[in-house]
């Protein structure tokens, strides 16, 4: 099971691969849409890659609640538990 730090680092890697954003720009308080300029389709690609990486399920209806990077880290940590 990954720690929150490991989840953040893993997410940053995924975001980097999808958008080209520097991994260090992916911080807990950042909003996916407003700060990182990630659109709904890129968000879905990130979600699917995160599911695979962390072996969790993130349902479609849950994706809308993941506003910030911190929201995603918390959800993944909870889903792993």
């Amino acid at each position: 099971m990954a720690s929150n730090e490991e989840i953040l680092a893993g997410l940053a890697e995924i975001v980097n691969e999808e958008t080209g954003l520097a991994p260090e720009a992916v911080e807990l308080e950042k909003s996916f849409t407003d700060d990182l300029d990630i659109d709904s389709i890129s968000m879905m690609t990130i979600v699917v890659n995160a599911e695979e990486k962390f072996d969790v399920k993130i349902p479609d209806e849950e994706v809308k609640n993941l506003k910030t990077v911190g929201d995603a880290v918390s959800f993944i940590a909870g889903a792993q538990a």
Partner: protein, 357 residues
């Protein structure tokens, strides 16, 4: 008295596509045109969808007109006479009559009467559904030749001011003739549906609401002096059902679920991605096309259809339109294998490997 033995149709061993036809309507709608209706930019639309223009039909050109043009070219390319057709299958969700079908009128206009003719309602998977049926009809000996048409006038069912789907859509028609072949030219169809996602793409409401609104208006009566014509006009405009989608849910399904279906179609046909000459997915959005190609790990030698850039998303017409263009631009693809996959409202999907004519 002994029971008589029934005769059954003689079977055809193989089937293949014999000819492809296309019709692209004359009105070109640019991204700048679209930005009159939604707050966006040419750059944003290109980046997010890969679409540069869409073709749309003028008011006086119908789904049937476009289908007849595409169908006639396919028949000519196949080198058969319209009278040899044993069935006409038309995939469309935009023929504006629940009945009679578009297909019966199209069959009459192309000279195929009295061939059986019927419409298929399977949205963006409709063309692949039609191929599955045509392949089965010909191999079973029910028909020698079948015309399959995908035709849509989506501009009749959009709301230019909404942002989920309308700006992606275009009009057009594509068609193929399926006939008997000595060598197998159509692999097994992998097709299906998922009604649990029935409401992710579809019309805003049913046509019954138009009837109910009219009945209510009649019952209330109207005093012309009190009538707010602007409000009435807006209410009536909103009555016309138009398309919407939950883009995020559709994207996930269209890429990761459809990648599995595409792989099943390759496996069912007994080939690998490297054996393909072309990949022709439904032209829904360039990012779906690119992501699907990535998931399938297609080698660089496989030409991926990207007709969407100019044509927009034309639902049932998109695969035959894209195939027609690929063959025109890459004549060396003739005789090569193409993986085609359609997916859309229902949700429904269909895929098969075909040998290009």
């Amino acid at each position: 008295m002994s029971t008589p033995t029934l005769k059954q149709n003689a079977l055809h061993e193989g089937t293949r596509i014999l000819g492809v036809g296309a019709y692209r309507p004359s009105v070109i709608v640019s991204n700048d045109d679209v930005c009159q209706w939604i707050d966006s930019s040419d750059e944003w639309i290109r980046k997010r969808t890969g679409i540069v223009t869409r073709h749309r039909a003028p008011h006086d050109v119908s789904v049937v007109d476009m289908a007849v043009a595409a169908g006639s070219e396919a028949i000519e390319k196949a080198g058969i006479a319209p009278g040899q057709l044993g069935a006409v299958i038309v995939s469309t969700v935009t023929h504006p009559y629940a009945t009679p079908s578009a297909a019966a009128l199209i069959a009459e206009r192309i000279g195929a009467s009295p061939a059986p003719a019927y419409d298929v309602s399977a949205a963006c998977a409709g063309y692949c559904y039609g191929i599955a049926q045509a392949d089965a009809l010909v191999r079973a000996g029910t028909a020698d030749y079948v015309l399959v048409i995908g035709a849509e006038k989506l501009s009749d069912v959009i709301d230019n001011h909404e942002r989920t789907i309308s700006f992606l859509l275009g009009d057009g028609a594509g068609a193929v003739v399926i006939g008997p072949a000595e060598e197998p030219g159509i692999g097994p169809s992998v097709w299906g549906s998922d009604g649990s996602k029935w409401d992710t793409i579809g019309m805003t409401h049913s046509q019954l609401e138009i009837r109910d609104f009219s009945e209510q208006s009649m019952k209330n009566g109207t005093d012309l002096d009190d009538l707010d014509l602007a409000a009435l006009g807006e209410a009536q405009a909103n009555l016309w059902p138009t398309l919407r989608q939950d883009g995020q849910t559709v994207f996930r399904w269209a890429v990761w679920e459809m990648a599995k279906v595409a792989k099943q179609a390759l496996e069912a046909a007994g080939i690998e991605a490297a054996d393909l000459g072309a990949f022709v997915p439904h032209q829904a959005n360039m990012r779906i096309i690119d992501e699907l190609a990535k998931q399938l790990k297609l080698p660089e030698s496989v030409i991926v259809a990207r007709d969407i850039a100019d044509a927009g998303n034309t639902s049932a017409a998109s695969i035959p339109l894209a195939t027609h263009r690929l063959l025109a631009e890459n004549p060396e693809l003739s005789g090569k294998l193409s993986l085609q996959i359609g997916f859309g409202a229902g949700l429904v999907f269909g895929a098969q490997v075909v040998r290009l004519p």
